[in-house]
Amino acid sequence: MLLQQLVNGIMIGSVYALTAMGATLIYGILRILDIANAAAYAVGAYLGWYIYTLTNNLFLAFFLAMILTGLIGVLVEKYIYLPIISKPNVITIVPLITSVGLFTLTGDLLRLIAGPNVKSLGVKLRIGVLQIGNLRINPEWIFIIILTALLFSILWFILNKTKLGLAWRATASDSEIAQAMGVNINVSMALSYILGYGFAASAGIMVGLLYNSIYPTMGDIPSYKMLAIIVLGGLGNPVGTVLAGLLIGLSETLVAAYIGSIMPRDVIAFLVLIIVLLVKPSGLISKKNA
């Protein structure tokens, strides 16, 4: 049934968008392709699981894990990326390789600390399954869709309605001139990381909740799918990222439902990427028109 598939696709897509949003925010300001954003996804899931097992409070687990992961992001930015990119004549591949290293390291650290086994979140939501005709919506989905909408609304508000957000957008447009106008670029960078890693963390917990499993390598697939999404969205463009996330989520679901499993699900993201880039090389929304 089409409606069911659409709901599935939108839900998966919004989780993808959340995962990729961090990388988009970071690329927008620092021009770093931060693969380690997918590490924040896994770290966030583990923190969420840990806080949930301690407190049995899902909301607390979500927000505390987001904040903690966001703060880790600020530390990573300040003590790892910033010293690297502020050296003269650094080629862009250096921070990229750094982020891959950081990502691999985090996966191994999680394995060492929490063990290689799959952990289950074991959340029981009090609301039941929502049944509208043939449309079946699990309580986890409702939770995810509402939370994603809430997070994106907050992001939209910060970026478009606050002075901090204006400074962020100006810095993304031309960081040198933004500084000359009085923007402390360190604040914009920190904002990118706190929001970026926080969002990735929330996506990690959502996926953990959805499949009831958390494991050290859970960031692997998001790490490359996230790349497809941010490129598709026009690199550094928040609105484009949401659209690209939804497009990929819907494509995956619809292809799986109607064409069948002729290819692995995770390939579809890249097929969509290639097709869109062939038609429009600057991505869905190019930066200039954002």
């Binding site: 003269p88 204006l166 957008r169 500084q179 000359a180 106008m181 402390n184 930066k287 200039k288 028109n289």
Partner: protein, 234 residues
């Protein structure tokens, strides 16, 4: 008001600014003229805090600002009109102006200053909700000037305002700068178009491959044979 002492700047191993000293007094309109690649943009960026200097010092209003970041210098009242306009493309005209007064806290002052910019350039008012990159080069130039003015700068740094503009707009731009200076804003402008800028400036420096080779009143520079030959095309 502005005192640059023995400033040296490097790009990698290459020294592009060599022991340059420049002073600008309150109310003056001072220019640094020089050919392409003489180091003009580097110099003005260093004064704004966008380019690190190797040695020397920059004093603004009796305060050593050599190690202050650009955003602090903006806070002190240094305005900047960059080469090639560089408006924030994906921001609206009004948002660009808001960025110009980023360091102003008082909301009424912000509103007042933005309205003043609209009075100076009515076209900006008409297009305030338009994205900056949808405007023509001339309109973007007005926006770049307006964006620097809303800060109510004590000192205005201008980098090659004539670059890439139609001749008629070049004249307008220089006229506006002169008017701003008459209204009390101190101006330091680096410029390749010596002909035009010396007509409005009080004093000038000649920058050649990173060295100040001459310093005089604008009037004397215009009459100097070397300057005539090298920069005025006569």
């Amino acid at each position: 008001m502005l005192e640059i002492k023995d400033v040296e700047i490097y790009y990698g191993q290459m020294k592009v600014i060599k022991e340059v000293s420049i002073s600008v007094h309150e109310g003056e309109l001072v220019t640094v003229i020089g050919a392409n690649g003489a180091g003009k943009t580097t110099l003005i960026k260093a004064i704004m805090g966008l380019k690190e200097i190797k040695s020397g010092s920059i004093i603004f209003k009796e305060k050593d600002i050599t190690n202050d970041p650009a955003w602090k210098r903006a806070e002190m009242g240094i305005g900047y009109i960059p080469e090639g306009r560089r408006v924030f493309n994906n921001l609206t005209v009004e948002e660009n102006l808001k960025m110009g007064c980023y360091k102003i806290k008082d909301k009424d002052t912000i509103k007042k200053n933005i309205n003043k910019a609209y009075e100076l350039f009515p076209i900006l008012d008409e297009r305030k909700n338009q994205l900056a990159n949808t405007m023509s080069g001339g309109e973007q130039q007005m926006l770049a000037i307006g964006r620097a003015l809303v800060l109510e700068p004590r000192l205005l740094l201008i980098d090659e305002i004539s670059m890439g503009l139609m001749p008629i707009l070049v004249n307008t731009s220089f006229r506006i700068i002169k008017e701003l200076n008459d209204a009390g804003i101190t101006v330091l402008i680096v410029e390749q178009n010596a002909n035009k800028v010396l007509k409005i400036a009080d004093r000038g420096y000649v920058l050649e491959t990173g060295n100040i080779v001459m310093e005089n009143t604008a009037k004397n520079l215009m009459e100097n044979d070397t300057v005539k030959k090298a920069y005025l095309g006569s």
